[in-house]
Structure formats: structure tokens, C-alpha cells
């Protein structure tokens, strides 16, 4: 990472820790939402930016995680047990979903995840005996961690921030390991990777399953954050939103999800004047961005900082493009 990059990260971390002391409750709610959505975006970034697969089900996984926690904690299950259960459940579902879909080419996973999201929505809406249907579930409790009550807005924010920090660390560790190298190979040149003994199917499946489990973990925090969940929150719209977050931030870039989630959370606030048009503007911006800088905002920043540094560099296409083949 460049020096500018390191400074930027440090500044951002300090800002993230200091922010809640300067914000009103709604502001704290916004940045808490940012933290929680970033976790889901990190997961989707693994699937899309590293393994090169489109998942339109990340929103559904967030929903599954949210409902898992919302249903288990009132039964007396400790929060973090439900938290891990949410992650594990989504990992398993991701594996089962991905296994057949990834046997084929043609981006079948995109369609399977699209269908899955709709199915999940239907189940959440129809099975009222379990999920309370369209009436939703209210009042999910915020956890008590070793005596520290996280009910307050600021306290819960720090809890979420802490979880984000740990998960980011874990993801960073994974990406530094041979798995990370394998993911880059997967994205840059899957054919070559295959010939080197790299089981591309297995690594892709793993990335998708881990990405999905991160979605579940995000949902597990989402339920106590908003304290009212209903099926519509986790329909296709959220999956689209998460996808756009990852793209805007810079897919395949470690910090892309952080930036993308920030934009997605703040944009509706900024565009409040053009309230209902914000989705149109967002979508149009994505199309323009894909045409001119598919590597997202951070890709732009990287290019700018390299230009400032005056260093030559190999052109990076962070959105996985088909490997240059014979």
C-alpha cells in the first residue's frame, strides 16, 4: 500500500472511533448501518471481486442472518451463539447453492442467486407461524458482553465496529495466505491456475460460501440495530444495493467495501432533494463508471496516487475480466 493509502486508513480509523461522540442519535444510527453493511459488502467483495462470480443473494443472506438472531435470542440463546449460528447457516446454504451452479459456465450463479433471493422472500413472507410474515419481528435485544450493556446507540456502534474490525482482520489474514494468492489467480487467469493444480471450482465455492456467511453475520447485527425486521428489507433491492456498493467502492480491492458502503449509506441523505430519483442517478452512475473506471472509486484513487507518485504500474482491472487466453 502506498504511504498516502496508509495515512488515509489511519485517518479513517480515527474518524470512525471519534465520530459517535460528535453525532446525534440519527447520525450514530447511520454510521452503525454503514458498519453493518460493510460486513456484508466485504463478503460480496470476496465472491465478486476475488472469485469473479455475481451473487444476487447477498441481501437474502443478510435476511437469513437477521431472522436467525431475531428468532433465537428471545428463546434464551446467547447472542453470540446465535451470531455464529447465523454465519454457519449461511456458509452451509452458500455451499449447497453454489455447488451445482458453479459446475457450469455462463454465470449461472447469478441466476440461481436471483431465484434464491425471491424464494427466501416468499418463505419469509408466507411462513407466518415462524417469521410473523409481513408483520415482521420487533425488539431484538442488543447483547450484553461481559457485563457491558450495548443498548445505547454509541455502545452498540462500538460493538459493531469491533466486530467489523475482527472480521476485517480475519479476511486480511485469509487474503495474505496462499488462499489469497489462489483467489487472485482465479480472477486473473483461471485456466493457468487450473493447470497449476489449483482447484478453481473449490476455491470459487469457498469464496462464495465465506462471502455468504459474512452476509449472515451482517444480518445478525442488523436485527438488533434496527430492531424491526420484515421480509421486504431483504428482497432483491438489498442485494442490488450491496452489489452496487462493491462495484462503486472498487471490487477486488480490500477497502472497496468500506468506501462503497459509505457512499450507499450517505447518498440517499445527500440526494434528499431529489429524493425518489436517487436510485436512477445511482444506477446511471454505475453504468458510467463501468464504462470508464470499472475498478471503482478506489481504482480511481489508486490511479491518481500512482500518477502523483510518477510510478509506472501494470494496469489493474479490478473487476475480473475474462483471462487473456489463446
Amino acid at each position: 500500500m502506498t504511504r498516502v493509502g496508509i495515512i488515509a486508513v489511519v485517518v479513517a480509523a480515527v474518524a470512525a472511533i471519534a465520530a459517535p461522540f460528535f453525532l446525534k442519535p440519527f447520525g450514530i444510527f447511520l454510521i452503525s448501518t454503514w458498519v453493518v453493511l460493510t460486513i456484508a459488502a466485504i463478503g460480496l467483495n470476496l465472491t465478486l471481486g476475488y472469485a469473479g462470480q455475481i451473487s444476487l443473494a447477498q441481501g437474502a443472506f443478510v435476511g437469513i442472518g437477521a431472522y436467525t438472531v431475531a428468532l433465537l435470542t428471545p428463546l434464551g440463546v446467547p447472542f453470540f451463539a446465535a451470531f455464529f449460528a447465523a454465519g454457519l447457516l449461511c456458509f452451509a446454504i452458500g455451499w449447497v447453492l453454489g455447488y451445482p451452479a458453479l459446475r457450469v459456465q455462463h454465470h449461472y450463479l447469478a441466476f440461481v442467486t436471483l431465484a434464491f433471493t425471491t424464494l427466501v422472500f416468499l418463505v419469509l413472507r408466507n411462513e407466518e407461524w415462524l417469521t410473523n410474515g409481513i408483520y415482521g419481528i420487533t425488539g431484538t435485544q442488543r447483547p450484553i458482553l461481559f457485563g457491558w450493556k450495548t443498548n445505547g446507540a454509541r455502545d452498540f456502534y462500538f460493538l459493531c465496529l469491533g466486530v467489523l474490525g475482527l472480521l476485517s482482520l480475519a479476511t486480511w489474514w485469509m487474503l495474505r495466505s496462499p488462499w489469497g494468492r489462489a483467489f487472485v489467480a482465479l480472477r486473473e487467469n483461471p485456466i493457468r491456475a487450473l493447470s497449476l493444480g489449483l482447484d478453481t471450482r473449490l476455491y470459487t465455492l469457498m469464496a462464495f460460501a465465506i462471502g455468504s456467511s459474512l452476509g449472515g453475520l451482517s444480518g445478525a447485527l442488523y436485527a438488533p440495530l434496527v430492531q424491526f425486521i420484515e421480509p421486504n428489507s431483504f428482497a432483491l433491492g438489498l442485494s442490488f444495493n450491496l452489489l452496487l456498493m462493491v462495484i462503486v467502492g472498487g471490487s477486488g480491492n480490500f477497502f472497496g467495501p468500506f468506501v462503497g458502503a459509505l457512499v450507499a449509506v450517505l447518498l440517499p441523505e445527500w440526494l434528499r432533494v431529489t429524493q425518489s430519483y436517487y436510485l436512477i442517478i445511482y444506477a446511471a452512475a454505475i453504468m458510467v463508471m463501468m464504462a470508464f473506471c470499472p475498478s471503482g472509486l478506489l481504482g480511481l484513487a489508486e490511479r491518481a496516487s500512482r500518477a502523483l507518485d510518477g510510478r509506472r504500474a501494470v494496469t489493474k482491472t479490478s473487476v475480473p475480466t475474462e483471462g487473456a487466453g489463446p
Binding site: H107, L122, R125, I280, M290, V319
Partner: protein
């Protein structure tokens, strides 16, 4: 038995419409590696063109033609030139993402610039019924079926019996070889886009009297197109037709016999079943892993 015939006929009618949408989708994929995630919205939109033209005073037949023309320009030419061509150099994935964004863009545009309310759409014939055996079948269904079948036949003639059609097929199967043979590949690709625009416009006019013109139509219709294409075998035009018809019939039958709450789930389950047990679809070939 009577209700079965009714369901069958309306299922075939729906299936024929799905087939048109799926064929366009498959053609785009075949000729230019374009996975058009916005295909559903492409079917949703022309109905609004027609309604807008009618609001401006045009009679229905004229408005329909205007709708088709606008579709050709916007969903055919502009789509290709502004979105697909600039993106192709980055590969399939960025293009798919662009079409996902496009679907969102079109859906929200229809909602904001026309209406978020479902709009009634003129039927092609006054609502009358015909009695076949004991079944009551609407003339609307029969007409839709007839038009869709005619379109499919016309498509078949175009692709297989005309020179341009055969050139388009050659381009779809092997662009490099086609270029060597002197086929103007770029122009053939453009024709595919125009053809898709016509197909979605026709589908739109046929489906909107039943579904009403809603900005959310794209979701279900798009999903139907994808599923039909996958059932048939992603890279087979005949497969798309077969997949569309099968999907339409099964969907209609299931609506009668499965709870309405899970109405939309049936096609999705078919999709998952196909992916699990026969991923190459009914007519597709198992793809080679190419070097």
C-alpha cells in the same frame, strides 16, 4: 377436463410470450456474449411507449407501431452503441453488471417518469369467449397464441431461410470463422440487437393487457426469460422456445393446483432442478472447457 384445456391454452399463450423473450435473450448471448439482465425491463418498457403515444392522441395500432419503433431505437441501437460496445472490451462480467444497473435504471425511470400505478393496457380484441368442447377459452388467449406462433415461425424463416438469417446464425456460432468467410460480423451483431428489440416489443404488447403495464413487470418477465433460456439450454435458440413454452404451461398449471402464496416459486424450483440435474438444459450441449 374443461379447466385443463383452458389452463393449457392460456399456458401455451403465456409460454409463447416467454419464448419470444427468451429467444431474444439467447440470441444476444450467442452473438455478442451479452447476458442482458435487463431483458425483463426491456419487455416492460415498450408498453409505456405505446401508452405515451396513445396519450398523445395516436390510435392503438399507430401507437403500437410507434412503440416498436422506439423499442428498436432505444432498446436496440442505443443499448448496443452506448452500453454494450464500450463495455465489451472489459469482458463479460462488467457488461453483466452494467445490465443489472440498467434494469434498475429502466425500472425506476418508468416508475418516476410515467407512473408507479399499474396502467390498464388495451387488449387486442374485445374480451369474448369461445367454447371449445366444454372449455371456455378467451379469444385474447387464442390471439396471443396465434401472434406468438406466427412470430416464432417468422423468426424461424428469417434465421434459416434468408441469407441474412443464416449469416446471423454463423456469426452466433463462430464469429471468427464468420469474419473469415466475409460476413459483416458487426452488422450481424447489430441486427441481433434490433431483432431482440422487436421481439421484446411484441411480447410487451401481448403481455400487458393481461399483466397491466407496471414498472415491476420486468422482475417476473425477466426471471421467466432467464429460466426459459436455461431450461432450453443456454446457447440454443430452439431450446429457448421450448423452454418458454414448457415454463408457461407448467406455470399456469401450477397456479391452479398450488397455493397462490407460493405462486411465483414454481418456476424458481424448476430452475434449481434444471441446474442440479441437467445444467446444460434440454437441448444444450455440455460445454467444453476451452483452452
Amino acid at each position: 377436463m374443461a379447466s385443463f384445456i383452458q389452463l393449457l391454452v392460456s399456458g401455451l399463450a403465456t409460454g409463447a410470450i416467454y419464448a419470444l423473450i427468451a429467444v431474444g435473450f439467447t440470441l444476444l448471448w450467442q452473438t455478442s456474449q451479452t447476458i442482458n439482465f435487463a431483458q425483463g425491463e426491456f419487455v416492460m418498457l415498450p408498453a409505456f411507449f405505446v401508452l405515451a403515444a396513445m396519450n398523445a392522441g395516436a390510435p392503438f395500432w399507430l401507437a403500437a407501431l410507434i412503440g416498436i419503433a422506439l423499442s428498436i431505437v432505444i432498446l436496440g441501437i442505443l443499448f448496443k452503441v452506448i452500453i454494450v460496445d464500450p463495455m465489451l472490451k472489459y469482458g463479460v462480467l462488467p457488461l453483466v453488471i452494467s445490465t443489472i444497473a440498467l434494469s434498475l435504471f429502466l425500472k425506476e425511470s418508468a416508475k418516476d417518469f410515467y407512473s408507479s400505478q399499474a396502467q390498464p393496457f388495451p387488449a387486442l380484441v374485445p374480451p369474448t369467449d369461445i367454447h371449445i368442447f366444454d372449455a371456455v377459452v378467451s379469444t385474447q388467449s387464442l390471439l396471443v397464441l396465434a401472434i406468438a406462433i406466427l412470430t416464432v415461425i417468422a423468426l424461424h424463416i428469417l434465421l434459416n431461410k434468408t441469407r441474412i438469417g443464416r449469416q446471423m446464425q454463423a456469426t452466433a456460432q463462430n464469429p471468427t470463422l464468420a469474419r473469415i468467410l466475409g460476413i459483416p460480423v458487426q452488422r450481424m451483431v447489430l441486427y441481433t440487437f434490433l431483432l431482440n428489440a422487436v421481439l421484446v416489443a411484441i411480447a410487451s404488447i401481448l403481455v400487458s393487457p393481461i399483466y397491466l403495464a407496471k414498472f415491476t413487470n420486468g422482475e417476473t418477465l425477466g426471471m421467466a426469460a432467464f429460466i426459459a433460456a436455461i431450461i432450453g439450454g443456454f446457447n440454443e435458440v430452439r431450446g429457448a422456445i421450448l423452454g418458454g413454452v414448457i415454463l408457461g404451461v407448467l406455470d399456469n398449471l401450477s397456479a391452479a393446483y398450488i397455493s397462490s402464496q407460493y405462486r411465483g416459486a414454481f418456476p424458481l424450483i424448476i430452475l434449481i432442478a434444471v441446474i442440479l440435474f441437467r445444467p446444460q438444459g434440454l437441448l444444450g450441449r455440455i460445454e467444453e472447457r476451452t483452452v
